[in-house]
């Protein structure tokens, strides 16, 4: 399977599954800083 090239330099947007909070960080947050929910990297497919 081939995906489009990704530029992983710089900050990555993560979005909380629970509250929709989006944070821009260089490292994956374990959980949402606002509600503690699981965070998704918006630069990658979920499926």
């Amino acid at each position: 399977m081939r995906d489009v090239e990704q530029d992983h330099d710089g900050e990555t947007p993560y979005e909380c599954f629970g509250c929709g909070n989006v944070v821009l960080v260089t490292d994956r947050p374990e959980s949402c800083p606002d509600c503690g929910g699981p965070m998704r990297n918006r630069l990658t497919p979920l499926e």
């Binding site: 399977m1 081939r2 995906d3 489009v4 090239e5 990704q6 992983h8 330099d9 947007p13 979005e15 909380c16 599954f17 629970g18 509250c19 929709g20 989006v22 960080v25 260089t26 490292d27 994956r28 947050p29 374990e30 959980s31 800083p33 699981p38 965070m39 998704r40 990297n41 918006r42 630069l43 990658t44 497919p45 979920l46 499926e47």
Partner: protein
């Protein structure tokens, strides 16, 4: 504007089959080449293969939105539906500047194989809008999502085509899409998309699922080669969601995770890292490379570590013709999509280094999407424990099917996975026949 078009036919290039193509080959060309390669191993009607080279439908739509300053911008969106012989189309929707019609067709074709190898009752699709989401405000992204939802409303639905988050989209995007669809249809229909926030029908266990499936498949392939997870050394390229969840699960099962990396580089401890102790960004920014460990290393060095299992789980095309000969791992499990180039796959096959392909290893994502869809259409919620139990069952079943083909035919794991997938899709086509 809405148009439905067919795909042009291309002749197969004389390049080897593998997980990912060369830079000059488009996603749809690579996908077609892999289809023909798999078809060589399977006794199926050539007419069915020819049908599968083409998407059933590609919807191209114009998506105008009002910007916050009152001006109007116009974007182009696509939904490529490849095949639905086994069930509704399934696949992500991305907001990304590089979205093209052909990319959606190629990625949609891969979703067909991914769903089929997992024996999920879905076909494959992919779509998106050619836009840089970072250039839009949250309100503009919402307007874009709602207008795009309306433009494709006629071809999506819980029994037709079920989108999911992809590059540049997320749970909130899916909630807007579900709301737009539901408002226009006059009833709340959570099963129209997956990857939603749990409060509107999302499933537990979504974020961990791809990493969990990577760990389960790694455990199974080790067993297949008469090796035990306990004491097995593992190097993970990446420490995002897939790598982190896979590393922690394998660590729990007794594996020794000796190396992980992030964009800045990796850390290495031959005695094993404490995968649960690597701090989150909130606790310590750029956590991986700042850890107090015996050694740090570059991402390139991590790929060449002498370990039992290498899991490239960050980005595509990291194992190439330039470094495949230097890979010292006994086994590779693809956590990312397309981490191994065609040339690298050939070199590693010559060296008898097994590669478990992405369409099986990271299929936990779409499998939990299936669970979310089941919960939505049945109006029931599953516990995290049930999600994980069902994922375990589905992954082991898929692994056993692929292993049976691998053992019976003496082919690579990648070929075995594609053979399982293509056989299921082709058999369904042959049984259903060609309408009218």
């Amino acid at each position: 504007m809405t148009s439905e078009t067919a795909t042009e036919r291309v002749e197969p290039p004389e390049t080897p089959s593998g997980s990912s193509g060369t830079g000059s080959e488009s996603a749809v060309e690579t996908a077609r080449r892999q289809l023909r390669h798999a078809a060589e191993h399977v006794d199926i009607d050539p007419d069915v293969v020819e049908r599968l080279e083409h998407p059933t439908k590609v919807q191209e739509v114009t998506v105008p939105i009002e910007r916050d300053d009152g001006t109007v911008d116009v974007f182009t969106g696509y939904r490529a539906q490849h095949d639905s012989v086994r069930g509704p189309y399934k696949g992500g929707l991305r907001f990304h500047p590089d979205v093209t019609r052909d990319e959606c067709v190629g990625l949609g074709m891969w979703m067909t194989w991914k769903c089929a190898v997992m024996d999920l009752p879905f076909g494959g699709a992919k779509g998106g809008v050619a836009v840089d989401p970072k250039a839009l405000s949250a309100a503009e992204r919402e307007r874009l999502t709602r207008r795009f939802a309306e433009e494709i409303r006629g071809i999506i639905g819980p029994t037709k085509d079920i989108p999911a988050p992809d590059m540049g989209t997320g749970p909130r995007t899916m909630a807007w899409l579900m709301d737009a669809y539901s408002m226009q249809e006059g009833e709340t229909i959570p099963g129209v998309v997956t990857g939603k926030p749990p409060i509107v029908g999302g499933s537990e266990g979504r974020e961990e699922a791809p990493g969990r499936s990577v760990a389960i498949v790694t455990r199974e392939v080790l067993d297949c080669y008469d090796r035990n997870v306990t004491g097995t050394t593992v190097a993970m390229q990446g420490y995002g969601s897939v790598a982190a969840n896979a590393a922690r699960l394998l660590d729990d099962w007794g594996a020794t995770v000796v190396a992980v990396s992030d964009v800045n580089g990796g850390i290495y401890d031959p005695d094993g890292l404490d995968t649960r102790a690597i701090p989150s960004h909130d606790e310590e920014p750029e956590a991986v490379t700042r850890r107090d460990v015996p050694e740090t290393l570059t991402n390139a060095e991590l790929l060449e570590l002498d370990v039992d299992v290498l899991v490239p789980a960050a980005v595509g095309n990291v194992l190439t013709a330039d470094n495949a000969a230097d890979v010292s791992a006994d086994l590779i499990v693809e956590g990312a999509n397309g981490p191994t180039t065609s040339a690298a796959a050939e070199i590693l096959a010559d060296r008898d280094v097994p590669i478990v392909p992405d369409i099986l290893a990271n299929a936990g994502g779409v499998t939990v999407s299936y669970f979310e869809w089941l919960q939505d259409i049945n109006r029931r919620s599953w516990s995290l424990e049930r999600v994980n139990d069902e994922l375990e069952t589905e992954m082991v079943a898929a692994w056993n099917d692929v292993r049976a083909e691998h053992d019976a035919r003496g082919v690579t794991w990648r070929d075995a996975a594609y053979i399982v997938a293509l056989s299921r899709v082709a058999e369904a086509h042959e049984v259903r026949g060609l309408w009218p």
